[in-house]
């Protein structure tokens, strides 16, 4: 039996191919059942995200290459994609490496943005979909449950999930480093640039209290204000209303700064020197750089935000390396469990054979001793069971240990030969 993952992701295939191969939530259950039908007995999970399509299969008695080939043909037929084209982008991992891959995926180490939090939920949805479709089995269940546990451990033991990964979220985090609660704060948006709007969306998600919008074209300001649930101000009134803003987001197309040092000095005086966070996303800059010298103003331009972002991403990469080493021990644990499972049929077979021998010899013995009472016959029966259990106990333990350190096929073959078992 083998656990095989076959798939493609943002590193191995272009977006166009991933789009073609991706499964929608509605069609996934049917795809799962159809793919499972191509194996005599298997567990199947299909994971689709914007950056990957992966198929996890546990199939007994089929070589991993054949499993991968079946999955490839299925994807090719289901999506009408040339098999050769698919083959160039597909990767395959088997058993322990398949587990390692899934653990890395669930922990977001393999993600386009390392540490992104959505992937674990997506992996959970994929597993639940397989469970509902009836295509999950004991091994798939164990594999995915361990993946969820590993992801949780990585999150708690590393700082992989910390540090923002977009300009907008960096801006929000910085705002939260200055202000305790954004719900009582006011953001002033100057201009109608796309980056400014994106930053404002992040601030809204973080619960900013109120929004003021200013633009040279007042109609545009009104539209923006309506879109974000704020108030529009005439352009000329911007300096006089600057003191109302705790956060200022500027993204105009102006060639010269529109907010100068004297504007902020006057505003700070009216605000009793309460701090102001200024996000200047425009190029050329909208805010005079001298403003950053003022005591209670925290000015970040686009370069500053990108530097913070770069620091965060680098920190996540370093944490990913640490997380990868944490995953190693979990992979070893799963591999041991899988080997134990592989040995199960042999162990069961040996137990059954010995039981048959015991029953045969017991019958012969009891026939030869007709004078025994019922109690004595029961005691002889118990004794024979105890003898068999005692004989088997040590070999069972030892063979499970040996499976970890030596070639499983050789160990199981020797095990069967020692007990004279010809099956399996």
């Amino acid at each position: 039996m083998s656990v095989v993952v076959t798939g493609l992701n943002h590193r191995t295939s272009p977006l166009a191919l991933r789009e073609k191969v991706a499964f929608s939530p509605e069609e996934t259950p049917r795809a799962l059942r159809e793919l499972r039908g191509r194996f005599a007995e298997a567990g199947v999970v299909i994971l689709t995200t914007c950056n990957r399509v992966e198929v996890y299969v546990h199939a007994g008695g089929i070589a991993p290459d054949d499993v991968a080939g079946t999955v490839r043909r299925f994807l090719s037929e289901w999506r009408q994609v040339d098999e050769g084209t698919l083959a160039e982008s597909l990767y395959t991992h088997v058993d322990a490496e398949a587990a390692r891959h899934l653990f890395r995926v669930a922990s977001s180490i393999d993600s386009l943005v390392v540490g992104e939090p959505q992937i674990l939920g997506q992996v959970r949805d994929a597993y639940n979909s397989a469970k509902s479709a009836g295509t999950s089995d004991k091994v798939i269940h164990a594999l995915f449950q361990r993946a969820f546990s590993v992801a949780k451990t990585i999150r708690s033991k590393t700082t992989l999930g910390t540090g923002e990964a977009s300009i907008g979220s960096v801006a929000v985090r910085l705002a939260q480093s200055i202000f305790q609660d954004l719900s009582g704060k006011t953001a002033l948006v100057v201009g109608s640039g796309e980056m400014g709007k994106l930053t404002l969306k992040h601030l809204l998600s973080a619960g900013i209290g109120s929004i003021l919008v200013v633009n040279r074209g007042h109609d545009r300001a009104r539209d923006l204000a309506a879109e974000f649930g704020g108030d529009a101000l005439p352009w000329e009134e911007m300096p006089d209303n600057l003191h109302r803003a705790d956060i200022v987001v500027t993204s105009t197309a102006a060639r010269e700064p529109v907010l100068l040092e004297e504007h902020f000095k006057a505003a700070l005086e009216r605000r009793d020197n309460r701090p102001v966070f200024v996000i200047d996303i425009a190029v050329p800059r909208d805010v005079d750089p001298a403003v950053s010298e003022l005591d209670d103003v925290y000015l970040y331009n686009i370069d500053d935000l990108e530097r913070v972002l770069g620091d965060n991403i680098e920190a996540r990469r370093q944490e990913a390396a640490r997380a990868a080493s944490l995953i190693d021990s979990k992979v070893r644990g799963f591999a041991r469990w899988l080997l134990g499972l592989q040995a199960e049929p042999s162990i069961v077979g040996i137990s059954e054979e010995l039981e048959a021998v015991r029953a045969r010899e017991l019958a012969k013995t009891l026939d030869a001793l007709p004078c025994l009472t019922e109690a004595q016959r029961a005691e002889v029966d118990d004794m024979s069971r105890r003898i068999v259990r005692s004989i088997l106990s040590n070999p069972m333990t030892e063979v499970k240990q040996e499976l970890v350190h030596h070639d499983p096929q050789t160990v199981l073959h020797l095990f069967r030969r020692f007990f004279g078992i010809e099956r399996m």
Binding site: I178, R274, S292, Y298, R307
Partner: protein, 282 residues
């Protein structure tokens, strides 16, 4: 008994020093478990110091508040308790590297003096007002110490934000607004406490002035307490009228504490830390 007391004291010092080291290591990379461990060690150190005080109290039958070592133990216990409460309330382990290292340094310095002081009996504190005055004074100074460490955290975080540096411990510190609120709360607690401390001291001095000369209220030690109260009062009132906010308030509190600390150390080191300074009394 002195051997046991000495052992507990040194173990407490070691716990604080180790906690301070862990706090600094955790600060470098912003590693939260290290910061939590540092605070845990400080808690263990405080517990050990509490045992030291208890043993000295039961051994001598006198409240141990008068020697340098007793003062360190009590001050450190109170500071640790206030620090832990502040860290827990703000859910900000990033404050630990600001609170612990100075306590670690003080422990190292005092450990060198410990032997003679631990063997000596504490001075008798005559009357409840005097005991209350001394105890409250330590609590007030512990609050002032934590306030000044918090103000240092504010200055640090402010500089980081100005310099666009968000690495390391930046994430484990609360927002500037929260640091400001915490600072104000600590001052708001310390200010009336200093006032009560001085009031209780006045009561003691009025009723039990056999040990004191008529000019006791001019002694540097008393003046220092009045100046401490004044600094707290100025900070509190200026903050409430919004005339001293943010980084300016933080610097005011921090520098104020440093000045008081320097003067107090000088008084202790020159043996002038007495109520009867002008008469050369005890």
């Amino acid at each position: 008994m002195t051997g046991a007391i000495g052992t507990f004291f040194l173990a407490g010092c070691a716990a604080y020093v180790l906690g301070a080291v862990l706090a600094l290591l955790g600060a470098r990379r912003g590693v939260r478990p290290l910061l939590h461990a540092a605070l845990g060690l400080a808690g263990a150190g405080a517990a050990l110091f509490a045992v030291v005080l208890l043993l000295r109290w039961t051994h001598w039958g006198l409240l141990p508040l008068s020697t340098v070592v007793d003062a360190l133990c009590l001050f450190t216990i109170l500071s640790t308790a206030i620090a832990a409460a502040t860290v827990a309330t703000n859910r900000a382990p990033g404050l630990v590297p600001f609170y612990l290292p100075p306590l670690g340094v003080v422990c190292v310095a005092t450990a060198a003096l410990a032997r003679d002081y631990l063997a000596a009996a504490p001075r008798e504190l005559r009357g409840a007002p005097l005991a209350a005055h001394v105890g409250l004074a330590f609590l007030a100074y512990a609050l002032f110490y934590i306030a000044s460490a918090t103000s240092l955290a504010y200055v640090f975080q402010n500089r980081r934000l100005k310099a666009h540096n968000t690495r390391g411990i930046f994430r484990e510190l609360p927002s500037l607004e929260r640091l400001d609120t915490t600072l104000v709360r600590l001052i708001a607690l310390g200010y009336p406490l200093f006032a009560v401390t001085l009031g209780v001291g006045l009561i003691w001095a009025w009723f039990d002035h056999q040990l004191l000369t008529p000019q006791w209220w001019f002694a540097p030690k008393v003046m220092l307490s009045v100046v401490s109260l004044t600094i707290c009062a100025v900070a509190f009132h200026l903050r409430h009228s919004n005339r001293l906010l943010g980084v300016r308030l933080a610097w005011f509190v921090f520098v104020g504490f440093l000045v008081l600390l320097f003067v107090d150390l000088m008084l202790v080191l020159t043996d002038l830390n007495t109520h009867n300074f002008w008469e050369g009394g005890v």
